[in-house]
Amino acid sequence: MADPVFLGLSVITIGSAIAALELRSLVYGSIALMGTLGGIAGFFLLLDAPFVALFQLAVYVGSIAVLILFTVMLVRRELIFKKIEDGRRRLAGIGLMMAVMISLGAVFLDSGIKGIETDEPPVDFREIGADFVVYYWPALVAMALVLAGSVTGALVLARREDTENGGGTG
């Protein structure tokens, strides 16, 4: 039960999540958020899903966290955040979170997940890919269309008219 790697990862993940909420400095907060997301990647590695873990690192730590850092550094913080110091709101938030966590945990523990014992090897990502192409193809096609649409949209947004007609030697 008490796997030291699991415990260490849990401490890192939860600790940096709390730090991300509580730190005054926004940049350190976003670094702590990276710690949380990296810890979740570690959980995926423990669950024999390195494919998901690496995507978690590449997408969440590599891109989402960068976006957050970017926003924090480029925008003056008074414009996006108004400080509300209110002890009761904070208590209410913690209480709400505890209630949600406890109920979710109760549901998980009650669902018999502890009784599952499996020695099967981890699922190969090629099988997941094959499943996607064969069984879940409508979802795959829908995702592909959405992504193609968003890439095209990004290309259209990134096109600048004024550089085309030779101006702009400022």
Binding site: V27, L54, G62, A65, V66, F70, L155, R159, R160, T163
Partner: protein
């Protein structure tokens, strides 16, 4: 009497030499040897010729020429050797050092200068060592209002990330530090860390030039990561694997650059942008913003960032070799190890010396490493070349290039790969 050091006395100098030798020996005997013994008792010792190497006999065996090579063999099989010496840090740092020297010398020749000239007498070959010593001995200055923890951590993190990238590169058959099944994905994940470290170090310096440079670096790296990933999808499609060793093995008859030239060109351009090299060196544009995000680094911190930059350059060039140029594959040009040395030993007149444990490396490994290094050095040359040829481009041109042209070319490349697969040229039943 010398003018440079008027108080110099030869007798004092010789006395100081003897003093140093005495204290060196003393410390070695009293502290060094016991420390080595303690380490030897803790670490796991190898079994050599069916006999466990005990810590008591380690020094004796090392001095015994018939047993030295087996010990070296056992050491070469350890992970420590892989990480520190051959496919890992030592090898990469050596290539990186060579790159720095060649870059300076070649740029000088391109611009009709002489370049490094005096250090080491022969064409300034010791210039790099001199620069390194200078950087180590210089004071590290931290800006007064810098964010100190982040500012200290950034160079170390930069080198660590570059070293993690290096560890994924397969150099010769079986010679790779971390041979994971999803090497290419790990490469994408690691590349994603560079912009974070850059922007954090730029922000933590609390100075305008680094911040401008960092923001530029972030723009550039994030927008060029997308064509970088897309340009490699073609290779993944035709090989059907994400493992870098697997991709190299799939190129035994032909390199992928023959079938996917557009992907290779796009990857090369994005590589230049990720490495912040001319014509994409906006983050360090020295004529506009001093040295960009490196402005506030001094002493060995700057040295570490430089080391990380060149490790990254080697890793990207090696990745290009692995993905498009066939990695370690090439005609066998290394001669086989002479057999009679193994069976009869080295015969010199009446004396013959049997040396067990030879050969140290197999012929395949030497040949693979040789071809890999040749190809990688060629790619590095083409990365260095634009610096003497092209001017720096504007940031809007850079972003336009990344977001419109390169992504479009990537999709063309993906469709070429798909066409080759569906036409049966490659894949099952095809050329392979």
């Amino acid at each position: 009497m010398s003018v440079i050091a008027p108080d110099f006395k030869l007798s004092e100098f010789i006395k100081s030499l003897f003093d140093n030798a005495f204290w060196g020996l003393m410390l070695m005997v009293l502290v060094g040897l016991p420390a080595i013994m303690m380490v030897l008792f803790v670490i796991e010792m190898p079994v050599i010729d069916g006999e466990l190497l005990t810590p008591f006999l380690a020094f004796t065996w090392l001095a015994d020429p018939t047993r030295t090579l087996p010990i070296v063999h056992a050491f070469m099989a350890t992970d420590m050797f892989r990480v520190m010496v051959f496919p890992g840090f030592g090898f990469a740092a050596l290539l990186a050092a060579g790159t720095i020297f060649v870059e300076r010398k070649m740029l000088a020749k391109l611009q009709l200068r002489v370049g490094p000239f005096y250090c080491g007498k022969v064409e300034g070959i010791l210039q790099l060592m001199g620069d390194g010593l200078k950087l180590i001995s210089k004071e590290i200055i931290i800006p007064a209002k810098a964010d100190k923890p982040l500012f200290w951590a950034a160079p170390v993190l930069f080198v660590a990330t570059a070293a993690a990238f290096v560890s994924l590169i397969p150099v010769a058959p079986g010679w790779v530090v971390a041979d994971i099944d999803m090497g290419l994905l790990a490469v994408f994940a690691i590349i994603g860390f560079f912009p974070i470290i850059t922007i954090l170090s730029a922000w933590s310096a609390n100075s305008k030039y680094p911040f401008i440079g960092g923001i530029r670096a972030l723009f550039q790296m994030v927008s060029f990561e997308i064509p970088l990933i897309l340009s490699l999808l073609g290779v993944v499609m035709v090989t059907g694997t994400l493992s870098l060793s697997g991709i190299v093995e799939s190129q035994s008859s032909f390199p992928w650059i023959i079938f996917l030239p557009i992907g290779a060109i796009v990857f090369f351009i994005t590589m230049l942008a990720e490495l912040e090299r001319i014509p994409f060196d906006l983050p360090e544009a020295e004529s506009e913003i001093v040295a960009g995000w490196l402005t506030e680094f001094s002493g060995m911190m700057y040295g570490l960032v430089q080391l990380g930059t060149y490790l990254k350059l080697y890793a990207f060039a090696a990745l290009f070799t692995v993905l498009f140029l066939g990695g370690w594959h090439g005609p066998m040009i290394v001669p086989p190890f002479p057999h009679e040395i193994i069976t009869e030993g080295i015969v010199m007149g009446p004396v013959s010396a049997q040396i067990p444990g030879l050969p140290l490396f197999t012929q395949e490994m030497l040949n693979g490493a040789l071809w890999f290094v040749l190809k990688t050095v060629g790619v590095i040359f083409f990365i260095l070349l634009p610096r003497g040829v092209f001017p720096r481009i504007r940031i809007d041109m850079l972003l336009g290039l990344g977001w419109t042209k390169l992504i479009g070319l990537c999709f063309v490349n993906v469709f070429i790969a798909l066409g080759l697969l569906y036409a049966g040229v490659l894949g099952p039943g095809g050329l392979q």
